[in-house]
Amino acid sequence: MKLMHTKLPDFIKKVDAAGKKLRPETEVVLRGLESMESAKLASLRVGRIEEEIVEITQDPNVAKVEVTVLPQIPETIHTVVIKGIQKDGTSKKTILESMFITTPAPECYYHDSEEVDDRRVSYD
């Protein structure tokens, strides 16, 4: 069954396969999804990313592909779930709190590339 959304473990495998498609010895690094336990990714965009990874490796001198997934908004509000768990595994109380997190913006990851092709969605 093909779905509109790709499971996270499948995305991870697809990224690796795309990077190694032209040359199996290519090193492929995927970062940014480590804290996600369960996620669905838009398949239309997964497909784009697979093609774009292959496109990056078309240069025969590319030895490594780094794929980094970052929030497009580098500063976002998060919910912190503080949950107390009893000895018997049940939970009597949770406190919810907000946290503002600012992370390094995408420029930190590509600033030393000679050419940058921005194909992201724009909301003008």
Partner: protein, 343 residues
């Protein structure tokens, strides 16, 4: 060759106290160069490859400090630049002008300053961006620009490097002095400023908040910890007599801390010094708790003391106005260079 004039307090300035490159551009210089505010920031990114925060300031406009005191300058646009770039969606933010209206004045009693103080009447007001100008940020985001390593937050007053973790605050009178080549007190913000910046006023599209909290309330609500939030954090503040002058203008037209103005340690201390009324019963318990941690109690404020004149307060401002630890006074010209970027 067309050039854009800018001022920079470089990383390392003020005997190593300033950790981030801070760029200030006068609106007049942007106009003279034939640029929009956004274009001016793009020109800076092309010319200046190091990480930096940018504030574009209109010295003919007015804005409001976090505790509700009007100041005659305004940040009209701000940005973050790094690696010669500005983040496409979040690297720049233009501030919306706010129109004068009876409604604004009735909802925001501190804004009587705009009406009653001759120096401010008729000037254009800029505080924070409105809903549309904030996009694609929503209510769930801070009023912040970020590019690469540099975040420029709270409408161009709080600057951070998210990799080396350095930070610096430039409160209202600090920016004013920088634009007028005055003098600045550079040191650690200290506990009184930590408490003070939480004592905000109610504003629509304020520099930090939109229609939240109000005079007499604390936005920090951190009890005993309010005095620690920015206490170890460098700041470039204006001279204490500058703060005292602007605060007294608001008090002298009958505005009352706790009722109309924020109940910050600075505003309360100046009010006590000139014998101006304070709305003790409008200051919430949580705010008193925070004020108490820096020695500002109802008893202290009510204790008899010599009532000073406007001129006497200015003369004794360094003793009266709390805030800034380990501060050193610098002429702005000692820490700030004037440079030119190629357009």
């Amino acid at each position: 060759m067309a050039k854009l004039k800018y001022k920079i307090i470089p990383q390392g300035a003020a005997e190593g106290r300033v950790p981030i490159n801070l760029i200030f551009i006068d609106k007049k210089d942007v106009v003279e160069a034939g640029l929009t505010y956004r274009q001016a920031c793009e020109v800076m990114a092309k010319n200046f490859k190091e990480p930096a925060a940018i504030d574009i300031i209109d010295t003919d406009a007015v804005t409001v400090s976090s505790d509700g005191i009007m100041v005659d300058y305004a940040v009209v646009a701000f940005a973050s630049i790094d690696y010669g770039m500005i983040n496409r969606d979040f690297g720049y933010l233009g501030i919306s002008e706010q129109a004068y209206s009876e409604k604004l004045l009735s909802e925001e009693p501190h804004m009587k300053q705009w009406d009653a103080i001759d120096a401010y009447r008729g000037k254009r007001l800029f505080r924070g961006p409105n809903f549309n100008d904030r996009l694609p940020r929503v209510a769930h985001n801070e009023t912040q620009t970020i590019t690469g390593r540099i975040a420029n937050n709270n409408t161009g007053s709080e600057f951070m490097n998210v990799i080396d973790m350095t930070e610096i605050l430039v409160p209202a009178y600090g920016a004013l002095e920088i634009m007028h080549d005055g003098e600045v007190l550079v040191g650690l913000a200290g506990p009184e400023i930590s408490v003070g910046i939480g004592m905000v006023v109610f504003e629509t599209y304020g520099r930090i908040f939109n229609r939240s909290y109000g005079a007499g309330l604390t936005a920090h609500n951190s009890g005993l910890y309010a005095k620690t939030v920015k206490s170890d954090y460098p700041a470039i503040a204006g001279r204490k007599k500058t703060l005292a002058e602007y605060t007294m203008r608001a008090l002298e037209i009958g505005l009352v801390p706790g009722r109309d103005l924020g109940c910050s340690p600075a505003v309360l201390s100046v009010a006590k010094a000139i014998g101006a009324p304070i709305a003790y019963d409008k200051i919430e318990e949580r705010a008193w708790l925070e004020l108490g941690t820096v020695g500002i109690t109802e008893d202290w404020l009510k204790a008899p003391s010599k009532q000073l004149t406007h001129a006497e307060v200015l003369e004794k401002a360094d003793e009266i106005v709390p805030g800034i630890s380990d501060g050193k006074l610098f002429k702005v010209s000692q820490i700030c260079d004037v440079r030119y970027a190629q357009i």
